[in-house]
């Protein structure tokens, strides 16, 4: 036996077979349903004369004011497509040209970059340089994190922004080294201004400006014409040993662990960038240290 709900549903869909119809007629509210159904017929929509309505629509559309805009759409769609493509291209172009150009070097890597004018920059290992090609004509400005040697073409002022201070250049060659707790600018030619804590120091050729752990340290005149690292060698004069170790780690991509070694003692000397054994000897012998290698870690010990 079907339940009431299914029977009513089937009745609504005019889908009862004879047996079901009999069962439906036996429902207690059969009379109610039939009465409701009969009464509903009074709500029938007014007669709809399709032919007559069609004629009136057809005469309406003959009116010249109501003409199909056949080509209204035809040109609009392709036009919108082209416009969309152009918009994407333009925004992409705009985005990429206003984006800063960033150049980075990894451990044991050096590179030289030509800037949009004739200036060039040599980047030492593990350093990052960023500049904006688009604004270059108005503003020669680069961001530096690490160490780089600049040869600046003559022109408007040239600025190097670092975390530790800003170097303003008046045309020429200079080296900027900005590492953890270490900031050094050496001028090789021309005139360089260094702004540190909003105080500007001007450097003449051979002058250098050095800050270690926030303290300004006086240095004697530099008499070479380019920084030593450009010739694959790092030179140090009375530098804390930890800065030597840090530079060594950057050049050879190794880690140091120090045992019984005073990392603040001063070191004078140099190491080459292309011979690990030799370089290790160069930095250990003067301080009477021994070294052992384990994978990428070098252990330094005082004898």
């Amino acid at each position: 036996m079907m339940n009431r709900e299914t029977l009513i549903s089937k009745w609504l869909d005019n889908n009862l077979n004879d047996q079901e119809l009999q069962a439906f007629k036996n429902l207690e509210d059969y009379d109610d349903l039939v009465k409701l159904n009969d009464s509903l017929q009074a709500f029938k929509v007014d007669e709809y004369n399709t032919k007559q309505e069609l004629e009136s629509v057809l005469s309406a559309i003959k009116n010249p004011a109501i003409q199909p805009n056949k080509n209204g759409n035809n040109w609009l769609k392709p036009f919108m497509r082209i416009a969309a493509i152009l918009a994407v291209c333009f925004s992409l172009y705009y985005y990429t040209t206003t984006l800063d150009t960033t150049i980075s070097t990894e451990f044991a890597q050096k590179t030289t970059i030509e800037l949009p004018d004739a200036s060039s920059v040599s980047l030492n290992a593990k350093s990052t340089l960023a500049f904006n090609k688009k604004d270059w004509k108005q503003e020669r400005e680069v961001e530096l994190n690490g160490e780089a040697f600049f040869k600046v073409a003559k022109g408007s002022s040239f600025k190097v922004n670092t975390k530790s201070g800003t170097v303003t250049v008046y045309g020429t060659q200079f080296n900027v080294k900005q590492r953890d707790y270490y900031f050094e600018v050496i001028c090789y030619e021309g005139l360089v201004g260094v702004t540190h804590n909003s105080h500007e120091t001007k450097l003449k050729p051979g002058d250098s400006f050095l800050i270690i752990d926030g303290k300004i340290i006086a240095k004697e005149k530099e008499n070479r014409s380019t920084p030593s690292w450009l010739n694959n060698e790092s030179q140090f004069k009375s530098m804390p040993f930890k800065t030597v170790i840090a530079e060594f780690e950057r050049q050879y991509h190794v880690d140091f662990s120090l045992i019984n070694v005073d990392s603040t003692q001063l070191f004078t000397g140099s190491f080459a960038h292309d011979n690990l054994e030799m370089a290790l000897k160069n930095i250990t012998l003067p301080l009477q240290l021994t070294y052992t290698k384990e994978n990428n870690t070098i252990i330094l010990k005082r004898e």
């Binding site: 709900e5 009513i8 549903s9 609504l12 869909d13 005019n14 889908n15 509210d29 109610d32 009465k35 409701l36 159904n37 009464s39 509903l40 017929q41 009074a42 709500f43 029938k44 929509v45 007014d46 709809y48 399709t50 309505e53 069609l54 009136s56 629509v57 057809l58 309406a60 559309i61 109501i66 003409q67 199909p68 805009n69 056949k70 080509n71 209204g72 759409n73 035809n74």
Partner: protein, 171 residues
Amino acid sequence: MSKQLHDNICEEHLFSSIFNKYSKDLNNFLYYKFGDLLNPKDKVQEAFIKLWQNCAKISPDKAKSFVFTTANNLMLNEVAHQKVVLKHQQTKPKMHTNESPEFLMQENEYMEKLQNALANLTKPQREAFLMNRVEGKRFKEIAEILDISTKAVEKRIYGALKKLRLEIKEL
């Protein structure tokens, strides 16, 4: 998918055949959904005129949904919050001429209740229910007209019936 013979309906005979096929269903649909006050016939005319104006971008298989949607929107623009009025024909054929006046009064009362109850149905319930009961359309046909599933049609119609009977009983 079968390739279509025409990609638009800017030809009078095509347009006419579409009109013949759908205009009556559309008129019924509008009437049962929105009632009589807002001139369903006018809205049917307007919707088909709009179809003609846009004939270039409408393919024959999109025509039905275009006129239904357009007419429905035209109605909605006007309907604001008016109450739906479905008038029952006053010229009801008198089948029971020799009934007592008391019976006739009861009949009138019943029709009144029914009219109110119909007005209180939701639009989706009313359109499906009346197309089914008054036009005698089956669930499947209504589903095609409204572009919904047969199951949904059944649910609406059954729900409408239940609500009507409850209201008639209460009053």
